[in-house]
């Protein structure tokens, strides 16, 4: 919030004036109100492996993270370029594979990748769109300095928190929205619905019927699935509701089977079709891939997009962006060592205590080593894992992330954050002005994942 000369940074000026006039006890009471509101609404997530505390709240901090319009515009341009490149990359690797032929990305990294689906080779999804919904994780290190931390092109989650956080802030502090011109995010469900409807499959005649596919109420993100279906006014279905009838995917309704045209799936590729992928999957729909390839359903995001989430692929993103857009990437990548390469592995092993080491397919902050905060013993144990399967890991330096203020009992204190803006892709790319700000609540911590004690904040993009 503050700049080096201890004045509030420009986008925070109005907020700062308002905050100075507030009674701290009242703000802390408001924080508790917010928590009750979330609990009452049932905005909870499941933590796997915790028997008795099966439902948890993600802590919410009431101080918004504020981004100036100017900074946002730069950021948005970079994101748009990146998302366009991701779609072009997916189209290429499942068709001509020019990027491999040009020697910019090694063949085995693509073809031996578990997230690469040979079933998608030669198939063009409706509208040529692979990733309809993208969440790009970004960190800010200083004025106009942003790095992309990772791309979430498979099934990015968290957008319900973006919406509920805003809703909560507007209920609790309406006056702040008079003092600041905050760009709205509320249109997201409507935009998502339009964007999904615009990519109906060739086999759809008439108004496309849309559904959200969820693994069910025990999934950690179930709240979000039901929330999005509810806000869009579309069906929320499980695999057991669906079956392939007469070459269409149909859902079992109280009056018989009815066709679905666009499926926003929140189920991983592996579980989508037991006939094509994991035969033991009870979450998917046997035969849906055949329907898909026959042009009778749109699956969003397309199967096989998860390869973009791979952290080894990530390390090639600067090349990928340049290859498809013909311009240098506007957003920087965090320098990344691929442990599969001998020199890099050697460097990583020698500098473990300075680096963050991640699994290439990992997510949720699981299975990673944060060198600077790890003990000698943890580093040594991790080094063994690294040596055993080097290609399973990448390493990055710890960035000096900028901090934003959070409310604590003694007042405000700085914490590290990241930012996940949401992008919708149809015939155009729409970036929602805002996103999910995740905050590492533990002092000094760099891990923002909700499964590892992170919280969230409302994210304001100012109109200026």
């Amino acid at each position: 919030m503050m700049s080096a000369d201890s004045n509030p940074r420009q986008p925070y000026e109005n907020y700062h004036d308002w905050y100075e006039g507030q009674d701290r006890a009242r703000l802390i009471a408001k924080s508790r109100d917010a928590e009750n509101l979330f609990r009452k609404t049932g905005i909870t997530f499941a933590v796997y492996g915790h028997e008795d505390s099966s439902e948890k709240l993600i802590p919410f901090d009431i101080i918004p993270r504020i981004i100036s319009g100017r900074e946002w515009r730069r950021l948005a341009q970079g994101i748009e370029q990146r998302v366009i490149a991701l779609n072009a990359f997916l189209d290429d690797i499942y068709h001509k594979q020019e990027i491999i032929k040009a020697g910019r990305v090694p063949r085995e990294l693509i073809e031996r990748n578990v997230a690469f689906l040979p079933q998608m080779i030669g198939f063009k999804p409706p509208g040529g769109v692979y990733t309809h919904i993208v969440g790009t994780d970004i960190v800010r290190t200083g004025e106009d300095q942003f790095y992309v931390l990772e791309d979430n092109a498979r099934t990015p989650s968290g957008v319900s928190y973006m919406l509920e956080n805003r809703e909560t802030m507007m209920q609790m502090f309406p006056e702040l929205f008079h003092l600041n011109k905050v760009r709205p995010v509320e249109d997201y469900p409507k935009t998502l619905r339009q964007s999904l409807a615009s990519l109906a499959p060739p086999g759809c005649s008439g108004k496309p019927r849309i559904a959200v596919l969820t693994p069910g109420i025990f999934n950690s993100a179930y709240y979000e699935h039901s929330f999005l279906a509810d806000m869009m006014g579309v069906e929320l279905v499980e695999g057991s509701d669906l079956r392939v009838v007469d070459g269409k995917v149909k859902m079992r309704t109280t009056r018989g089977y009815e066709a679905i045209d666009v499926l926003y799936r929140r189920v991983d590729d592996d579980f989508l079709d037991p006939l094509t992928f994991r035969p033991d999957s009870a979450l998917g729909i046997p035969g849906i891939m055949d329907v898909y390839k026959a042009g009778n359903i749109t699956i969003a995001n397309a199967p096989g997009t998860g390869i973009c989430d791979d952290k080894a692929i990530y390390s090639y993103m600067p090349e990928i962006v340049e290859f498809y857009t013909g311009r240098k990437a506007l957003l920087e990548n965090v320098p990344t060592w691929r442990c599969s390469e001998e020199d890099s592995l050697k460097y990583v092993l020698e500098h473990l205590e300075e680096l963050v080491v991640k699994e290439v397919h990992g997510s949720g902050g699981y299975g990673m080593l944060v060198g600077p905060t790890a003990s000698k013993k943890e580093c040594a144990a991790f080094a063994e894992k690294l040596k055993a399967r080097p290609s399973n890991y990448i390493a990055q330096p710890t960035l000096s992330l900028s901090t934003v203020p959070i409310l604590v009992n003694k007042g405000i204190a700085p914490r590290h954050v990241d930012l996940r803006p949401y992008v919708l892709v149809s015939d155009k790319v729409k970036i929602i002005p805002g996103g999910l700000t995740r905050v590492a609540l533990k002092e000094g911590s760099l891990v923002v994942n909700s499964s590892q004690g992170g919280g969230t904040k409302d994210t304001w993009v100012l109109e200026d």
Binding site: R39, K40, T41, G42, G216, I217, Y222, S226, A229, D230, E235, L236, V237, E238, S240, D241, M251, R252, T253, T254, R255, G256
Partner: protein, 313 residues
């Protein structure tokens, strides 16, 4: 609407109804224990039977005591019909059908669960019982209020209502089935204080000890109580009233979807039967047999609805 959603709504409301009725049974049992001198543990035998968990109780507890019976009925997770289990199941179903519910109905259900989870986290002390029973009744009443005040009158509403009344008819019939001997004219010693207490307990377990007096001018009689609970179409927990509601809600579905199922026939036949019989006939031909048959038909209706509307694959 998805078959699974119809199923979820139906069971959500069955469980809410069941949870509330179990609380009422406990309330009536407590009242009996208060008004009777000496040991009252055998009264809990009847309460457990009415709740349909008498045998299951024995598997968990060696000996029947009032305190254990109350705990089993109120909060034992091993008892799928305990109040806490019912509310837990109702909420799980509500989460599953979240998109079919208004925000108000969902929040009332969720808050009911949050509040009861807290109130029932430990064995309830006898002194706290009235407050806990009150909390259960208030929480479920709030769900009902939110539901009636905010839900669209469409098929979502119809499946919810059908669930409510299938469960309610079942619960009322069970109470009658367990206590039928108290209502037999041959055995009943009219005016004895024991019978009066038993009868009042029956009425209390359907929250009708006051309304009964309004309808039947105060005097307790086996025939009038049976009439009230079985045939009176103004008594909201009677079999006749429940079936009136089931038939009309099934009727809306038939109109909306343009087709009839076996369930429509079964429900109408039962309603006709309840409308055409009078209580003296029923008492004469055997109250017990009548109720037993009713319970069988009611269960069958539930299955026919689930099949007709594709609740499952």
């Amino acid at each position: 609407m998805l078959g699974r959603t119809a199923n979820g709504l139906y069971w959500m409301f069955r469980y809410i109804e069941r949870g509330e009725n179990i609380a009422r049974l406990i309330d009536a049992g407590l009242r009996m224990a208060l008004t009777r001198s000496g040991s009252s543990d055998e009264d809990w035998d009847g309460v457990l039977q009415s709740a349909g968990v008498r045998e299951d109780f024995d598997e968990v507890h060696g000996k029947l005591t009032g305190a254990d019976a109350i705990d089993y009925l109120l909060r034992d997770p091993a008892n799928p019909s305990s109040v806490m289990s019912c509310i837990e199941s109702a909420r799980n179903n509500a989460r599953m059908v979240r998109t079919a519910l208004t925000r108000e109905t969902w929040e009332a259900t969720n808050e009911c669960w949050i509040e009861l989870k807290l109130a029932l986290s430990k064995r309830v002390k006898p002194a706290d019982m009235p407050e806990v029973i009150g909390t259960i009744k208030r929480c479920t009443a709030l769900i009902r209020g939110a539901f009636h005040g905010t839900m669209l009158r469409d098929d979502i509403y119809n499946f919810s209502r059908i669930g409510t009344f299938i469960e309610r008819a079942d619960n009322t019939a069970r109470i009658l089935d367990v206590k039928y001997y108290v209502l037999l004219p041959a055995i009943a010693k009219v005016g004895s204080s024991l019978d009066n207490m038993q009868w009042e307990s029956i009425l209390r377990s359907v929250s009708a000890h006051r309304s009964y007096s309004w309808v039947y001018d105060g005097d307790y009689s086996a025939t009038n109580i049976s009439d009230f609970l079985i045939l009176n179409d103004r008594m909201p927990r009677s079999l006749a009233y429940s079936y009136d509601k089931i038939v009309s809600n099934l009727g809306y579905l038939a109109k909306l979807y343009g087709d009839n199922h076996a369930a429509h026939e079964t429900a109408s036949a039962t309603l006709m039967l309840l409308r055409s019989r009078n209580i003296d006939d029923i008492m004469e031909q055997g109250l017990h047999e009548f109720i037993e048959e009713f319970i069988v038909h009611n269960n069958r209706l539930g299955e026919e609805i689930s099949e007709g509307y594709r609740f499952y694959r």
